[in-house]
């Protein structure tokens, strides 16, 4: 018989943001059953309200104004509530809030207004938050599934529209396959270290490296397979095949949410597993982590392929899909940099900065596509941007801002993200990756700025619908993008406390 622990011992309070989100979601699911079909705005409002409240709490926690629970561990190390957790919470909740706002009218006018949309979106958000807080590989896996399964369903939300169904099926089959890789990787890591707890893995890895034990091959295999599984979720080359098709076929508000949430979750887990649990796993003691070379090579491939293929795209959603692949590459550079112990903190902080900048910018860009998209899911081509500036100057200005930010032009959030990522890369001596990063950023200017050109220097009839929730979402995203770009110290303040590497 084990001791009955008090709730205080478990530090349940530390998990408050995510547990209350889960609880609220369950309640919302039941409430939604009694909301009549023509009044689903109630569900949307409740969801937005819940996210809003939690976002305020998460921001307070991030700003260290309030503290949930005491200490950084809950459930004996299963759940980690540190500065990184707070940051991922904020990113996840902002994305979710914008996701609800972008989706509401779209669902209405395309006739797929269902309460489940919001419930599933909240489940996925809980998955992201669990991933950011995972202190154990089992939690990483369960959280990854909690993120993925709702996203598979949401991709197919426009059933029986064929493109949406195809997108859901492709995402599901490939995603399930990738989860298999992750589980196999976890099994091998467990085989090598005898534990799934990240801190214990870190200790065991230290022993294995110091003692030159043969378990390091097993650990190497495990780390490699886990990298494949997580690389799929963040759409890193060569595990990116699903991205363009899924992004093109899935309902646009879902893509707006998914493109950010899946990346935030995937990179949070990658940071926890690689930069935290396996940070000292080198083939020889004192060297940079063994996964560093692999990760920066992946980063270079990802940036090259994403940016080059994006140039020839004619569909906006597909273009942004390749753009999202490219951005995964930039974040991967930072992850690779975390393999050098001396810059580990700086690198992980730049991951968080980039994710925050990317969240606002990318949701905003997709929100503009939602505005121009017709009810039958057409008009998402590049042509739909033609002449937008004349008809809707503010919308065009916002889109231009998002494009500048995705390119990484100064005074936008995207620039700040790239700046810190490249800085970390240089500090970790990953010069080739940084050079490729800068060059591909220049390449990316071509296709991002072409959109700006189409909006401002070409003429065409435009039909746009921006009901107020969508307009507000675009407004919030653009103000955020601009503000973080002009006052970068807001971001650096947010991430200042983040440190993932275990005790010195």
């Amino acid at each position: 018989m084990f001791e009955v622990p008090g709730l205080g011992d478990l530090n349940v309070a530390a998990t408050l943001p995510v547990t209350s989100l889960v609880l609220g979601t369950c309640i919302l699911l039941i409430v939604d059953l009694f909301v009549p079909t023509d009044r689903k705005h109630i569900t949307a409002w409740l969801a937005a309200l819940g996210i809003g409240v939690l976002l305020v709490l998460a921001l307070l926690a991030l700003g260290e104004i309030t503290e949930f629970g005491d200490g950084e561990e809950a459930f004996s190390g299963m759940f980690v509530a540190d500065a990184f957790t707070d940051m991922i919470n904020v990113i996840a909740l902002i994305t979710a809030l914008l996701g609800v706002m972008v989706a509401y009218n779209y669902l209405e006018r395309t006739g797929i207004q269902r309460g489940e949309y919001y419930v599933l979106l909240l489940f996925a958000t809980a998955g992201v938050m669990f991933m950011g807080a995972a202190g154990d590989l089992v939690v990483v896996f369960v959280a990854l599934e909690l993120l993925s399964i709702p996203l598979y369903i949401l991709s197919g939300f426009r059933r029986p529209q064929e493109a949406s169904e195809e997108s859901a099926l492709k995402y599901f089959l490939l995603g399930a396959f990738a989860s298999g890789f992750l589980v196999y990787g976890i099994a091998l890591i467990y085989g090598a270290t005898g534990t799934t707890n990240l801190h214990d893995i870190w200790q065991a890895a230290g022993d294995i490296v110091a003692g030159h034990k043969s378990g390091r091959f097993l650990l190497l295999g495990g780390a490699g397979l886990a990298l494949v599984g997580l690389g799929f979720k963040v759409a890193a080359v060569p595990f990116h095949m699903w991205t363009p098709d899924v992004y093109q076929g899935a309902p646009t508000p879902v893509v707006a949410y998914m493109s950010v949430a899946a990346k935030a979750g995937g990179f949070a887990a990658m940071a926890r597993v690689l930069a935290s649990g396996l940070s000292n796993f080198a083939l020889d003691p004192g060297e940079a982590a063994v996964w560093q070379d692999t990760v920066w090579l992946l980063a270079i491939l990802t940036m090259l392929l994403g940016n080059v293929v994006a140039i020839v795209q004619t569909d906006l959603k597909r273009l942004l899909a390749y753009s999202s692949i490219a951005h995964a590459g930039y974040i991967l550079i930072a992850v690779a940099a975390a393999g050098t112990a001396a810059v580990a903190d700086e690198a992980v902080q730049s991951v968080a900065i980039y994710l925050m900048a990317y969240a606002l910018t990318n949701v905003g860009a997709f929100a503009v596509i939602v505005a121009v998209e017709r009810d039958d899911a057409t008009n998402t081509g590049l042509d739909s941007m033609r002449g937008l500036a004349n008809a809707r100057p503010w919308l065009a200005a916002a889109m231009a801002l998002f494009m500048f930010s995705l390119t990484g032009i100064p005074l936008t959030a995207g620039f700040v993200g790239k700046w810190f990522v490249f800085k970390a890369a240089l500090a970790a001596d990953l010069i080739p990756a940084a050079v490729v990063g800068v060059v591909t950023s220049l390449v990316s200017a071509f296709y991002y700025l072409r959109i700006v050109w189409l909006m401002y220097f070409e003429e065409s009839e435009v039909e746009v619908s921006t009901p107020w929730p969508l307009a507000w979402a675009i407004g919030v995203a653009s103000v955020g993008t601009l503000l973080l770009g002009m006052l970068p110290y807001i971001l650096t303040d947010m991430v200042r406390e983040i440190t993932l590497a275990f005790g010195g």
């Binding site: 084990f2 622990p5 011992d9 478990l10 998990t15 889960v22 369950c26 699911l29 809950a74 459930f75 004996s76 299963m78 759940f79 269902r114 489940e116 419930v119 599933l120 489940f123 809980a126 669990f130 154990d136 089992v138 939690v139 896996f141 369960v142 959280a143 599934e145 909690l146 399964i149 709702p150 598979y152 369903i153 197919g156 059933r159 029986p160 859901a168 085989g191 090598a192 034990k213 043969s214 378990g215 091959f217 097993l218 190497l220 295999g221």
Partner: protein, 198 residues
Amino acid sequence: MEITVEAIVFLVFSAITLGGALQVVLTRNLFHAALYLMLSLFGVAGLFVLLTAPFLAGAQVVIYIGAITILIIFAIMLTPQVTRVLKVHHTQWPVALALAALLFVGLVWTQTPLADELGADGWSADFTVEDPADVPADSLTDLGKSLVDPERYMLPFEAASLLLMAALIGAVLLVNRPDDNPDAEAAPAAGARPDQSG
């Protein structure tokens, strides 16, 4: 290298697992493939028994054989042409074979030194150097305890229930949509069903 009872049982179950898996890939009838999958999974359950993991063996039978393959069979029976035997001309099997071989060699290469380090010897797997801890007699009870032990797996355990919930919502949402023409899916089966009262 002596042949023990364990070794024989291991070989039998491995043969069942691998043979079943091979047939899944080779057979051209999708329905038969599902049945072979069942056989293969049964072999895996046997291997779990050998590893003194009775819970995993039971879960394998209850979930994989009892539920997942049934689901697969239903999915196959839902398709309009259940018996259409596919004539697939595949040209990629040498690549697949090479990859599988590579994976196999890689796994053996990583595991062998580890087994050597532990002092494993032949079939009997007598660990001479570092004895792994004995599997406790009531490992099932221990598993039950650690699942709900807040110090161990309570958090992922509860999260798993959320996962099931999300999956259920998805199942209901994507499969059962009474509001978009219910006749369409029921119609083709109606006339063809044989009398099942017999």
